[in-house]
Amino acid sequence: MVRFILIKVCYFIFRAWLLRRDGTKRLKLPEVPSGLSYDEKEIEDTVSRVDSILSLILRSTRHICYYRSYVLAVILREKGLPVVLNVGGRALWSPVRMKAHCWLTLDEERVYEKDNSFDLYPLEMGYNSDRSIRYWIGEDFDEGVLEDEAVRRGHSVRV
């Protein structure tokens, strides 16, 4: 069981890494199978195992919240738990100041998240088309940064 979940987590970390690296691929989560019941204890054990594996593999990696949220979202949705992956961004026009955070919610409530850094992203932008991903932004705009470049673009999961 532990070996199986280790392989799965490694595979999904790799997939998440590929998504961040390749700007042409869309972040997509699996559909939640209908009629599948889940066991709360089993879910808690799964989250705990995934966190243990992630803390070993991604100890010194930036963007750990993105990898953790993506891996947990895929695994929990496959188990029938309709978690939503939330992506928040701040100062998105500034290569220096931009910040981002990812976290999970279930029925609008945050889950499996210890800190409150998502409070920095209070403005909702909306859901993607299958309502598996929800986007937020923060308010800390820097008027001096936009300068005169006509359009700046970026990607929420690659900041």
């Binding site: 700007g23 869309r26 972040l27 992506v87 961004g89 998105l92 026009w93 403005l123 932008m125 909306g126 859901y127 993607n128 088309s129 991903i133 986007y135 932004i137 308010e139 705009f141 008027e143 936009l146 005169d148 470049e149 006509a150 359009v151 700046r152 673009r153 970026g154 990607h155 929420s156 999961v157």
Partner: protein, 91 residues
């Protein structure tokens, strides 16, 4: 050749935007790609998002700028073309 300022433009449903403290963020909800605009782009986007047609949007922008009308119009045209090329607007 049709003038780019003669068309009717709509913002596709999969785009969401927020204008906070004078800064506009436009997000493609399906791809996660976001865009930030300069002031002309911001005014153009907000006017179109309010349901104004392109001529009303252009009038709104021209009223705000002291520069030569031709220069502002050229900026707006190239901006519109950029938005069309990126798929941020449909004609």
């Amino acid at each position: 050749m049709e003038d780019i300022l003669d068309g009717t433009y709509t913002i596709p449903d999969n785009y969401s935007w927020r204008d906070v403290k004078g800064e506009l963020i436009v997000l493609n909800l399906d791809s996660g790609e976001y865009f930030t605009f300069n002031e002309i782009g911001r005014m153009l986007w907000l006017a179109l998002s309010e349901g104004k047609d392109i001529k009303e949007a252009v009038d709104t922008i021209l009223k705000e700028y002291d520069s030569k009308e031709d220069d502002v119009l050229n900026d707006i045209k190239s901006y519109l073309q950029g938005l069309l090329d990126e798929g941020l607007l449909t004609k």
